[in-house]
């Protein structure tokens, strides 16, 4: 008899997560296509890429608001509040588990339960991505969409260029996060159990 499944991901959260993933994929594909545009090998035709990127950028921002206010008004937000005391040590022990313990068949130092959905490393990276990176990419993206609001000169270089630089660098960080995030999802009871969880909301402990 296996341990009982825990209901961890509410419906609104799963909806947000699915849409967020979908929008991110479109944004990454069109973003790369524009950034490395080449008249000879167009990945996605430039003007089409611009339109798709604009539309999904707006959708992602609206969807982010669902996440942001959802976390304020439901108990899900508590998972993102980092307890500063001893956090570094917890982070380190999780890191140790992923780099060593996991290969020796050790148990994870912070098993998932209703009170602790994220291990310290997840907590840390999710907070950085969701509360620093996504707001930056949304704000800079809106700036690029409405360039009238961007100062023309900033720190001696074009404000538009600086905004773009932020947008592209943060886009890259989020893309890298996505790769790592998807990989780490294979570390569950079975390699696919976490992917099932994001669909039905139930976590399988292991």
């Amino acid at each position: 008899m296996t341990e009982e499944k825990i209901y961890l991901y509410q419906r609104w959260l799963r909806l947000w997560h699915a849409l967020n993933a979908l929008f991110c994929l479109f944004l990454i594909a069109t973003g790369i296509s524009m950034q490395f545009s080449n008249p000879k090998v167009p990945l996605i035709r430039f003007d089409i890429a611009v339109s798709i990127h604009n539309i999904f950028g707006i959708l992602l921002t609206i969807n982010y608001l669902l996440f942001f206010f959802g976390n304020i008004f439901t108990w899900n937000g508590k998972h993102y509040r980092i307890s500063v005391d001893g956090f570094y040590h917890r982070l380190l022990s999780q890191f140790r588990y992923y780099t060593r313990g996991i290969f020796k068949g050790e148990h994870p130092p912070f098993p998932v339960n209703k009170e602790l959905k994220f291990n310290p490393l997840q907590q840390f990276s999710y907070v950085i991505i969701m509360y620093i990176m996504v707001p930056i990419i949304a704000v800079t993206g809106l700036g690029l969409m409405y360039p009238d609001f961007i100062p023309t000169q900033l720190l001696g270089i074009s404000g538009l260029h600086l905004t773009d630089l932020f947008h592209v660098i943060v886009g890259f960080i989020i893309s890298i996060f996505m790769f790592v995030h998807i990989y780490f999802c294979t570390i569950g009871k079975t390699p696919v159990s976490n992917f099932k969880s994001i669909v039905d909301g139930y976590h399988e402990p292991h």
Binding site: V50, I82, I102, F103, Y131, P135, D148, S158, L165, V168
Partner: protein
């Protein structure tokens, strides 16, 4: 709940990011638009001009003989027969704005360098109306002092242009380059925006003004906003590049500004012509700066960094390299981790 105080609330971070962004925008948005507004100011009626500030120019005193009438909206003369003093309005196209003239390329010229000496008499002799006017090449052609401007090549390019082909000799240099106000901007402007505004104003003088447009045709001028509706971020494009970026064809590398204006069907419409690492803007709008900066700093992408920006064209070699390396490490890391997990 006792640990409440020691917990970071992530939503505060978002609020802080928003506040800082708004603060930066409010703090730094200001002066830039003033120049544009000034350049777009409509010509005002010139009534009384303080001429003292122009006296430093070589021929200013002599030119005042002409400009005392042609320098403002009205002129006064004495009717020799009746002895009455008569004030009349000067024809708008015959008014020379001193401020613009003494800033123009031809600021050190005497009026009679280009116009007949007979103009010194008043009333001007009637036959002077038939006076033929010199073109750029008449003075600048074959002149070593002006060799770097390649006037001959400009002339060849212009002869190929739709302006020249459609309107034959009616279309002269003066149609775009007003002899009394024209000044070069691509080599002298402090910033590229200034060049853009100035150069686009030249096109708009006819293409945005039906009366002037119909000097050479009976057709209506096309509505530029409607014609360019296909262009995303239209306003930004109009502010950031010149009309000639898409509407000319570079014929040779010697001239700084292309003069071969293309028929509309041949205009650049493919986004990636500009939005790519091999952006045509490098050989056009940014050509002068690219050449100058490249020789001075050997790092030509800095021109985009300091003055402008176009998605797909602003690529930083080091940033690309770093991102490829990081991406590579992540993939290798994931692969190793996977293998070790399988082997455990």
């Amino acid at each position: 709940m006792d640990t409440f105080k020691s917990k970071l609330r992530p939503s505060w971070v978002v609020v802080a990011i928003l506040i800082i962004t708004i603060f930066i925008i409010v703090l730094t948005r200001s002066s830039e638009t003033v120049i544009e507004e000034k350049l777009q100011e409509p010509v005002k009626s010139i009534v009384k001009t303080d001429t003292s500030s122009f006296s430093k120019h070589k021929n200013a005193a002599e030119n005042e003989n002409c400009l005392k009438c042609h320098g403002q909206s009205k002129y006064t003369y004495e009717n020799a027969e009746s002895g009455k003093s008569i004030t009349k309005l000067m024809y708008a196209e015959l008014i020379i704005d001193r401020a613009l003239f003494y800033e123009s390329n031809h600021r050190e010229f005497k009026c009679t360098d280009c116009h007949s000496e007979d103009y010194v008499t008043f009333p001007h002799p009637g036959n002077l109306r038939m006076e033929t006017k010199a073109n750029c090449i008449d003075c600048h052609g074959g002149d070593e002092q002006y060799a770097k401007f390649h006037f001959e090549n400009i002339d060849t390019e212009f002869q190929e242009s739709v302006h020249s082909a459609k309107h034959s000799e009616d279309f002269t240099c003066w149609m775009c380059h007003n002899a009394h106000t024209y000044k070069i901007t691509a080599r002298t402007s402090e910033n590229i925006k200034q060049t853009i505004t100035y150069d686009n104003a030249i096109c708009l003088e006819c293409h945005g003004n039906l009366t002037k447009y119909q000097l050479l045709t009976d057709k209506q001028n096309p509505n530029l906003i409607v014609k360019h509706e296909w262009l995303p971020n239209q306003v930004l494009h109009f502010q950031s590049v010149r009309c000639i970026e898409c509407h000319t064809k570079k014929m040779d590398d010697s001239t700084l500004v292309a003069h071969n204006i293309l028929p509309k069907t041949k205009a650049v419409k493919n986004c990636t012509e500009c939005h790519s690492s091999n952006s045509i803007l490098m050989a056009a709008l940014y050509k002068y700066q690219v050449k100058e900066v490249r020789s001075a700093r050997g790092f030509f992408s800095s021109i985009f960094a300091s003055e402008s920006y176009a998605i797909g064209a602003n690529r930083n070699f080091y940033l690309n390299m770093i991102s490829i390396v990081i991406f590579g490490f992540v993939i290798i890391g994931i692969a190793i981790h996977t293998v070790l997990r399988i082997l455990k």
